[in-house]
């Protein structure tokens, strides 16, 4: 599975990078490819468009709006808080992969109302007790 992820947090100096590292380690352990864009205070390098295009889905682990979310338009996505990832990155990834495989992920709006994660919502009408409450609760 190819995954692209974005992390951000309130202060932008700690959780953003911890979550990125946790996701990279978890993906390695589970045998998946992940590219993480850290949108923190230590600069943010936008990932290549080709990487986004090649990804199966996006994982937004953000406490702030995703910068330039239009880049991800059309991709299936999951949106969780940074702390969810820090609590158990491997479970988050496994749950996302299961949801993607089941076709249960919403897609990033093609024309977001603004360049922010406010255009991102949890997949509606697909709530499953347990799984989604862990991801989105």
């Amino acid at each position: 599975m190819r995954i692209v992820a974005v992390t951000s947090c309130i202060t932008g100096i700690a959780h953003t990078y911890m979550a990125a590292e946790a996701l990279e380690q978890a993906a390695k352990k589970l045998g998946h490819d992940i590219t993480v864009e850290t949108q923190g205070s230590a600069g943010s390098t936008a990932m290549p468009k080709a990487t986004i295009d090649a990804a199966d889905f996006c994982l937004f682990a953000n406490d702030l709006d995703v910068k330039d979310i239009a880049r991800f338009a059309g991709k299936p996505f999951v949106h969780v808080s940074v702390s969810t990832v820090l609590n158990d990155a491997a479970s988050v990834l496994a749950d996302c992969i299961a949801a993607f495989s089941a076709g249960a992920l919403a897609r990033v709006d093609a024309v977001p109302s603004s360049e922010s994660a406010t255009a991102v919502s949890t997949p509606s009408g697909k709530k499953k007790r347990g799984f989604f409450s862990r991801l989105f609760g």
Binding site: I10, I13, Y17, M18, Q25, T38, G40, A42, G43
Partner: protein
């Protein structure tokens, strides 16, 4: 300390066996070290910035760590002060108290390059082998040396 560079931490910024029962007390003891080391110019102002961040969301994390932190006008250089506690201090993590406490300070408005070292530290905190080395260290100097060796740009 490397020549021409201000280290992220030094032995004087490390407290082995922190005597504190609350996160506020632990944070204050570590902040006092930052003041003594010339890294923080005004302790109450800095602690207020840390508290404002802490009020938004607890900074306790799985694996027995607490990372109170703030960008603050009262911080002169990117700095981490480290405390170890056998008994642990509650920072709100669901799996128990923090045995390693990292008080992180970044100057307000500091440029990207200066913050890369803090990003490198944050990434290391996720690794249990790194945390274990710090927990098992028996002196401030050993802890400062581990940070210097392991946290690199």
């Amino acid at each position: 300390m490397a020549t021409g560079k201000i280290a992220l931490t030094t032995a004087e910024l490390v407290i082995v066996g922190l005597e504190a029962d609350t996160k506020e007390h632990a944070t204050r003891l570590l902040a006092e070290r930052m003041v003594a080391a010339g890294r923080v110019t005004e302790i109450e102002g800095y602690l207020e910035d840390v508290r404002l961040r802490e009020d938004q969301m607890n900074t306790g994390l799985p694996g027995g760590i607490g990372i109170p932190h703030a960008r603050s006008a009262f911080v002169t250089h990117p700095t981490v002060a480290i405390g170890t506690s056998h008994r642990g201090v509650d920072f709100g993590a669901h799996d128990g108290p923090a045995h390693l406490i990292f008080l992180i300070g970044a100057p307000d408005g500091s440029d990207d390059a200066h913050l890369h070292i803090l990003a490198a530290l944050a990434r290391k905190l996720v690794h249990e082998d790194f945390r274990q080395m710090l927990r098992e260290a028996d002196s401030a100097k050993v802890i400062a040396d581990i940070i210097k060796k392991e946290v690199k740009l």
